[in-house]
């Protein structure tokens, strides 16, 4: 159960990596920091919301999460606008290195005393907690919340991408930007929308991750971010169902490895070993396929 919950969180993060890759063909390494900013937004918003709504409560948690999503969506759009858009016509490596730069910039700015500070902070209780028993299984309410939230968000995302005009435009842009522009699609708007969507998902993931973690700090996004990145590659980068599946697989594997004595110290090693194996043997990922086009 813990593995499923962890995997769900990785899935939510992996979707952001894979969506941005889909439209711009680079890995937005700052994505993991948006996740951290999501958790911190909730941390600072919670006391304010507690003035109006009871906290911990479902309504309170929803409001906090919603605000954090909006904030992070804005931040994601801003990052793309300031850091990546000016480099749009440059080689992809330039953008990739810039992404690493943006990530380090956010992490270390946030560690400054005047911003969040480097110390670990206790994340506020947003939801009432209790444990359920299901036969021999003990299920924490937080794990259940993580699962339900993820299922809802995945369904919502699927609907947006497959059934709405803007989602279809996203897929069109990811296939061929020039052809999409010739349809009258404003490429920049679609890219901004993609960043907003991915960053909002990252904010939720950050909050869910914080619910399960002992505390939050400006580097909290690094570990889940890396694993989600591996998950996205495992599923087939650019492939949305693949990212979700990859997240679950990595989460479950990590939890199983953690449960076996002697292996628990190698959890990160296992994740990276998976990455190396995929790159060696199935570089397109589990659900990715080499696209064949008839001419």
């Amino acid at each position: 159960m813990n593995g499923l919950a962890l995997g769900s969180i990785y899935a939510l993060i992996a979707l952001g990596y894979t969506m941005v890759y889909g439209v711009l063909r680079f890995i937005n390494f700052a994505h993991s920091d948006v996740l951290m900013l999501g958790a911190f937004s909730a941390y600072y918003l919670a006391p304010a919301v507690a003035q109006v709504l009871p906290l911990p409560s479902l309504a309170g948690a929803l409001v906090v999460t919603l605000f954090a999503c909006v904030l992070c969506a804005g931040l994601g759009v801003l990052i793309e606008f300031l850091a990546y858009r000016p480099l749009r016509s440059r080689p992809r490596l330039t953008v990739l290195i810039t992404a690493i730069g943006v990530s380090l910039f956010i992490e270390f700015t946030c560690q400054h005393r005047a911003v969040f500070g480097a110390d670990t902070k206790a994340f506020p209780k947003l939801l009432p907690e209790s444990d359920f028993r299901l036969g021999d299984l003990i299920i924490g309410s937080n794990d259940l919340v993580v699962l339900v939230t993820t299922v809802l968000l995945l369904t919502g995302l699927w609907f947006v991408v497959q059934r709405t005009k803007i989602g279809t435009a996203m897929r069109a842009v990811s296939f061929n930007q020039q052809a999409a522009a010739l349809m009258g699609i404003d490429i920049n708007r679609i890219i901004s929308f993609t960043f907003a969507l991915g960053s909002a998902l990252a904010a939720v993931a950050g909050i869910l991750y914080a619910l399960k973690a002992p505390g939050i700090d400006p580097l909290m996004g690094v570990q889940p971010g890396l694993r989600a990145f591996i998950a996205a590659v495992l599923g087939g980068i650019g492939n949305l169902p693949g990212a979700a599946l990859g997240g679950l697989v990595i989460g479950l594997l990590e939890t199983f490895a953690g449960g076996i004595s002697g292996l628990s110290n190698y959890r990160d090693g296992i994740a990276f070993a998976i990455l190396i194996l995929i790159l060696l043997f199935k570089p397109a990922g589990l659900l990715g396929k080499a696209t064949v086009e008839k001419v």
């Binding site: 005009k165 897929r171 069109a172 296939f175 061929n176 522009a181 349809m183 404003d186 008839k294 001419v295």
Partner: protein, 249 residues
């Protein structure tokens, strides 16, 4: 398939005017001052060998590449430095070389992307019906991924997708390229029909000069980024220089 329109560009109000267009790809100069006029409701063709600058001219008109100097005037408005989606919103639509259908989208989704800027559901449904009429093959393949279509079907889809934007002027880049001869015929018949029945102005780029001149009113011959010859399509077909270099005689 003879041209019935007034072929002269002089008396007609030109819908599209290109003036002294210069374009480079990095250090390589592709267009050295191309000028041309497309009168309203006519079919004008650009012919020339591979690399003559035909596609580049279309790409510069629709804003896909930046012109270094010169001007593109459409419907009386200078659109030279506008972004592609703004240009499309003026109903100047471009069917790019290589078709560029969205292979990952269904045929129906491709058509709806063509109508991206429109919100008139009834009008969109009407236009889709019109497209079924001219390209019945597409109707059978609506739910199929566009990547699974044959080359000719993809070209039909690319043209239909552009028609969904309700073009006043349609630019077609090599619609015959890599397509079975039988389908080429069907496609060119429809290009003429689109022009005659819907009054859509057509700017056609073709390597197959025979085919292009047969349906056009006026033609420009491009060579290494320059217009070397222009005349009515009928006159170009009789021109010995054209016959030798482009009509394979």
């Amino acid at each position: 398939m003879t041209a019935s329109h007034q072929p002269s560009t002089i008396n007609h109000h030109p819908l599209l005017t290109v003036r002294e267009l210069h374009v480079s790809y990095g250090a390589i100069k592709a267009l050295h001052g191309v000028s041309l006029q497309v009168p309203e409701k006519s079919i004008v063709t650009l012919i020339g060998a591979n690399g003559a600058g035909k596609s580049t001219t279309l790409r510069a008109i629709s804003g896909l590449i930046k012109a270094q100097s010169g001007a593109v005037i459409y419907d009386g408005v200078e659109i030279t430095h506008q972004r592609p989606h703004r240009i499309v919103s003026r109903h100047l639509c471009h069917v790019p070389e290589g078709r560029m259908v969205f292979a990952n989208l269904t045929v129906a989704e491709n058509l709806h992307m063509g109508a991206y800027l429109r919100n008139d559901k009834a009008g969109i449904a009407e236009d889709i019906d019109y497209i079924y009429g001219i390209f019945p093959r597409l109707k059978e393949r609506l739910a199929q991924q566009a990547g699974t279509l044959s080359g000719g079907e993809q070209q039909m889809l690319a043209i239909s997708r552009a028609l969904m934007g309700r073009p006043r002027c349609l630019m077609l880049d090599e619609p015959s390229l890599g397509i079975a001869p039988m389908l080429v015929r069907a496609i060119f018949d429809q290009i003429v029909a689109i022009n005659r029945e819907r009054g859509i102005t057509v700017l056609l780029v073709e390597q197959n000069a025979n085919l292009a001149l047969a349906i056009s009113d006026y033609g420009y011959v491009l060579e290494t980024g320059r217009v070397i010859l222009e005349d009515t399509a009928a006159a170009l077909r009789e021109n010995p220089q054209v016959r030798e270099a482009y009509l394979g005689e």
